[in-house]
Amino acid sequence: MKGRWAGRALLGVPTAFLLGLFVLPLLSMVVLSFWRTENYHIVQDWNLGNYITLATGGAYVTFLIRSLVMASAVSLVCILIAWPVSYSIILYGGRYRLLLTLAFAVPFLTGEVLRVIALQGLLGPLGLINAMLMALGNAPLRFIMYTNVASAIGLIYLYLPIVVTVIYLSLLNFDARLIDAAKIFGASPLRAFVEVTWPLNLFGTLIGFALCFIPCLSATLAPRFLGGPNGTLYGMAMAQQFGESGTWALGAAMGVVLFLTSLIAVLLVGMRVNLRRTGFTGFGRG
């Protein structure tokens, strides 16, 4: 009986946290999205105008598509880089493997703005790469100066450590003896990876994907500092509504759309995973 109350009390803390700091702000944003603004004034006039603008105003659909493409590409690249890195650390890291993984978190010791500005310096016209090329008598690489490629590089740089850490933790909890078992039964290393290692770490991989995909979808800093004139993404356009243009109601509607898009994306990915096969429980299905 005592344990049951203790459990409820302990679960109550995160529940209150989520209700107070996530659900309530989200609800207030939903309410605001059905109002409108007029020259920096909020008019409490219930209407669907903001959603109609988002659906018919072309520009916002373009921003969303750009962001979906960018977030998908960046997340895939991160997974492709993170897998061999994490796998190598697990296999060959020995007693330093935790240190090696933590080394990926070192950039987090500085702020995100600082990291993006540092990258701007690296990729810009006077940056290390182009300065070196020009010193060698070559033309500078224009595709890394204020382009969507530069934004993508920035986002990969920002979120790769998260993906590496998640996949590393997934692999850490994976019983490597299963690979040996597969090999004993005649599986090639490739087949053992495809049929044992990959599916049993798929859930961790997807968590890594989601933890990269969702912040990329709402990214503002990387496109702002690295993206150039054609690099406006959805998150950047949304931040603009809450900043200088003061069109908060439209920004709130953009936020609601972003939340729903992220939710749908996560559900779509989640539906493709057989949780029992990956060895995970806790989704109410035992």
């Binding site: 603004t37 007029e38 020259n39 920096y40 004034h41 603008t53 105003g57 072309g58 520009a59 916002y60 373009t62 921003f63 701007q120 810009g124 016209p125 006077l126 224009r142 100066m145 204020y146 702002r224 500092f225 150039g228 004139p229 054609n230 406006t232 356009a237 603009q240 509504q241 900043g243 200088e244 243009s245 003061g246 069109t247 439209l250």
Partner: protein, 407 residues
């Protein structure tokens, strides 16, 4: 049925006034709870409630970061026994948003430029100031004194509601080795395909649209024609046709831009490296580059067009007092602070630290080079500029900007 609680008075209890609950009387629990709640509320609120006559202990300012002078602030704090607490903002609209959502209670001093102070005054976000209590205003250049500079005076009552501080334009800084002066004299330079990939503009949506608006209205011939609102042309109040023209022009400009710079150091790097040859800016980067040239750190010659021939944008930063400040000691401290900030000695430091021109005449403290660099003899050109203002419809302007960004 109302639950009751009996409160017994001790023998030391002073005689209760007539009508009050006496010893042995029965008091409703709800009343007791109300009393406790009121007491708790009063205890919690006490630190935040100060009588108007009390000596202020804090001075809170909503200001631009570039104008913060730590040594001047420290001396002011020591002299007046107040703690100065600044909050910074990037654009007028951001400061306006902050003030509108309760900022008049959170800030004593506010900064704004162009027509924004008059908007603040109309919306009762700021209050009047007394120039007699700010003696350093006597050093204002004539063009910034209330007799000539009307943006900080209420036309109906004649009261002043702000003090000019720094001024400048949103002119074009260009690489004089690459761009001829006659081309740089026009806004057309920023849309010239001959410099494709070597142009840059700021990320500020208002000024991009307003500057393009001047060019569009010039091309359409509407700049000198009677306006639908009966007022003279204002690039912040464009017709739908002009806005459509601006959108088209800004879309055409996109492939010509290397980037929209986010800060002055980035622009300085781009100009210095030769990656960008022309960009509109507040002349701060221009001054920085000139200083580098004087030191022999760069070879390139840079020049600055203050007002393009079609007309340009200008701004006068001001100090304002929030409407939350009552008459009395708090207002006195606010006005003393403004006075401290606009003394010629402080303004010289402000000019050197921020790279801005001052509204206070500091020629006696400046070298001939500084007088030229900080445009001290060109204050008259202010009258040719359109002052920074609030867009006539932020919603329409936002759509134009978004469509351009998505194009």
């Amino acid at each position: 049925m109302t639950p009751h609680v009996t409160i017994a008075a001790s023998s030391e209890t002073p005689a209760a006034p007539e009508g009050a609950a006496s010893a042995g009387s029965s008091v409703a629990r709800r009343d007791v709870l109300k009393t406790i709640a009121a007491g708790a509320l009063a205890a919690l609120a006490t630190p935040y409630i100060r009588p108007a006559s009390a000596a202020p202990s804090q001075l809170r300012a909503l200001m631009w970061e570039g104008y913060l002078l730590p040594e001047v602030i420290a001396a002011f704090e020591e002299k007046h026994g107040v703690k100065f607490t600044p909050t910074f903002f990037d654009g007028n609209s951001e400061a306006y948003n902050k003030l509108r959502v309760g900022g008049t209670r959170d800030f004593d001093l506010v900064q704004a430029d162009g027509f924004w102070p008059s908007l603040y005054y109309r919306e009762k976000l700021i209050r009047t100031v007394d120039y007699a209590k700010i003696p350093a205003t006597q050093h204002l250049f004539p063009v910034f004194k209330p007799a000539e500079f009307k943006l900080l005076t209420d036309a109906a009552t004649g009261v002043d509601f702000g003090v000019p501080f720094c001024w400048g334009s949103y002119g074009t800084t260009y690489n004089a080795d690459v761009v001829p002066a006659e081309k740089a004299a026009s806004i057309e330079l920023l849309f010239d395909p001959a410099y494709a990939g070597r142009l840059s503009t700021s990320a500020r949506f208002e000024e991009n649209i307003a500057l393009a608006g001047i060019l569009v209205a010039t091309r359409m011939g509407t700049i000198d024609k009677p306006r639908p609102n009966g007022k003279p042309f204002n690039p912040y109040d464009l017709t739908d046709e002009e806005l459509a023209g601006v959108e088209k022009l800004l879309i055409e400009q996109k492939p010509l831009l290397l980037t929209r710079y986010q800060d002055n150091p980035t622009l300085a790097q781009l100009l210095e490296s030769g990656a960008v040859v022309a960009a509109p800016e507040f002349a701060q980067t221009y001054r920085l580059l000139l200083a580098k040239k004087a030191k022999g750190e760069i070879d390139t010659t840079f020049a600055h067009t203050l007002v393009p021939k079609e007309g340009g944008l200008g701004w006068v930063d001001t100090w304002l007092v929030s409407s939350g400040v009552p008459d009395g000691p708090m207002l006195d401290v606010c006005q003393s602070f403004i006075d401290t900030m606009i003394t010629p000695e402080t303004m010289k430091k402000v000019a050197l630290a921020s790279g801005c021109s001052t509204t206070i005449d500091i020629r006696s403290l400046s070298t001939p080079e500084e007088q030229a660099l900080y445009l001290m003899d060109r204050t008259g050109e202010l009258s040719k500029m359109y002052m920074f203002d609030q867009p006539s419809s932020t919603e329409k302007w936002e759509r134009v900007w978004s469509r351009m960004q998505a194009a």
